[in-house]
């Protein structure tokens, strides 16, 4: 996978399929709005993207210490080390939730200490593991400033409109992730009157599309959010939660989930349940990672590159 695929007629879907196998971090390039893979981080850098590049990390689960990875802190440190070593500094980072495992103050502190070493601004959205302290206050105290409701917000960077959503609150029995009426109303309002040519990146913890409802991997009212995004030339939806890379392209919308930096989970339906998956020690780092996204104005392409910690 590399930038020259652009000229070889390889379909975007095919490129994205290939990317699924590529790796650990997602390096995202948004070029004129449509995400595409530039290849591994090294080849992406060789291609010298002139646009906006940002990183996605997810599911760091600081505090997790079970068999699937007794050292989640260590693997987050490795991921941050990879980011620090990138020859071209990304503009910023997004974290798609489950920063901590149990919402303990010390877990948030450890995560902050490690992640800040990247020296980048970080835009967070919460995972369900970040809202389980008794008073549900630690996440909000740290990352809730300037956000609406349970922590949703929007910002612009490099000609791209970013929307951080919260779909881990007020979940209903038997249901999936949940955005809720108030947030949907806010989203509709936020998008109203916006130029349809402006690339949109939506990020949230649980996949907004239905990956596997039997395991709760989807968002109950995600389709309503996507309705509001119809008509925009380029929409990229970035999620975490399922601890593995999965992609889907549907019309103008590209869906992508990032790896965890803590532990892998089984592919849908391949195990009795979701949850931490123990693999051989020498395989673990090939299943953890980060993502990089690159946006280049003018050529209508957005590239997502997943890079594993190893392999």
């Amino acid at each position: 996978m590399s930038a020259h695929d652009e000229h070889t007629g390889v379909s975007r879907r095919r490129v994205l399929e290939c990317m699924t196998w590529a790796g650990t971090g997602v390096l995202w390039t948004i070029s004129g709005g449509v995400p595409r893979s530039l290849g591994l981080v090294e080849s992406a850098l060789a291609a010298e993207p002139a646009g906006l590049t940002f990183l996605q990390i997810s599911d760091s689960h600081i505090g997790f210490d079970k068999a699937a990875n007794p050292n989640a802190k260590g693997t987050l440190e490795e991921a941050i080390g990879k980011i620090k070593a990138m020859p071209r500094k990304p503009a910023f980072m997004i974290h798609t939730g489950d920063i901590t495992h149990l919402s303990k103050a010390a877990e948030f502190d450890d995560a902050e200490r490690i992640i800040s070493q990247a020296g980048l601004d970080v835009h967070y959205v919460p995972g369900e593991h970040d809202f389980i302290d008794e008073e549900v206050k630690f996440y909000r105290e740290r990352y809730g400033r300037g956000t609406k409701g349970a922590g949703w917000y929007a910002f612009d960077a490099g000609g791209v409109h970013f929307i951080g959503l919260v779909n881990v609150v007020d979940l209903k029995a038997g249901g999936l992730g949940n955005l809720g009426a108030e947030q949907l109303e806010w989203l509709e309002d936020d998008l109203k009157g916006r130029s349809k040519s402006m690339p949109i990146v939506v990020f949230a913890h649980i996949p907004l599309w239905t990956v596997y409802p039997t395991w709760g991997w989807g968002t109950e009212d995600g389709a309503r959010a996507l309705d509001y995004l119809k008509g925009f030339g380029s929409v990229t939806v970035l999620n975490g939660h399922i601890h593995q890379v999965m992609q889907k392209v549907e019309g103008n919308v590209t869906f992508h989930t990032a790896r965890s930096t803590a532990f892998p989970q089984p592919a849908p339906g391949t195990a009795p349940s979701p949850g931490p998956m123990k693999v051989a020690d020498d395989r673990l780092r090939s299943l953890l990672g980060i993502a990089s996204i690159d946006f280049k104005a003018g050529n209508e392409r957005l590239a997502i590159i997943d890079t594993p910690l190893q392999g």
């Binding site: 068999a67 919402s103 029995a173």
Partner: protein, 109 residues
């Protein structure tokens, strides 16, 4: 004076009787539900009034036990337990508020 004393004594006796019977019930009727692989096991349970049900999380992921308006555990980490004593008959549906596809029912009769 005498009446008041008698009434007070009667109340105390009544309270003591209730407490004794509740303790007896709690001693006799206990039931447990295991949380394994994102599943409540058994997912359907029938118990007598006064039964204390204890949920134990054996997953490597935290779970909760929530019955809207009836009971709500705090977050249960691996090997944590939560108990609730059912003092009224009825069907109690509950779920995990973190993984809402996990559901269960307690029928109290």
């Amino acid at each position: 004076m005498t009446y008041a004393t008698l009434r007070s004594l009667g109340l105390r006796l009544a309270v003591a009787t209730v407490m004794t019977s509740q303790m007896a019930a709690a001693r006799c009727e206990e039931s447990s539900i295991m949380i394994d692989n994102f599943t409540f096991e058994p997912a359907q349970l029938v118990v007598k009034i006064g039964t204390t049900v204890t949920w134990k999380n054996r997953d490597d992921i935290p779970h909760t036990v929530v019955s809207a308006g009836k009971f709500r555990s705090k977050t249960l980490d691996t090997d944590d337990s939560y108990s609730f004593t059912f003092t009224a008959a009825g069907d109690y549906t509950y779920f995990c508020s973190l993984h809402p596809h996990m559901k269960g029912t307690i029928k109290v009769e």
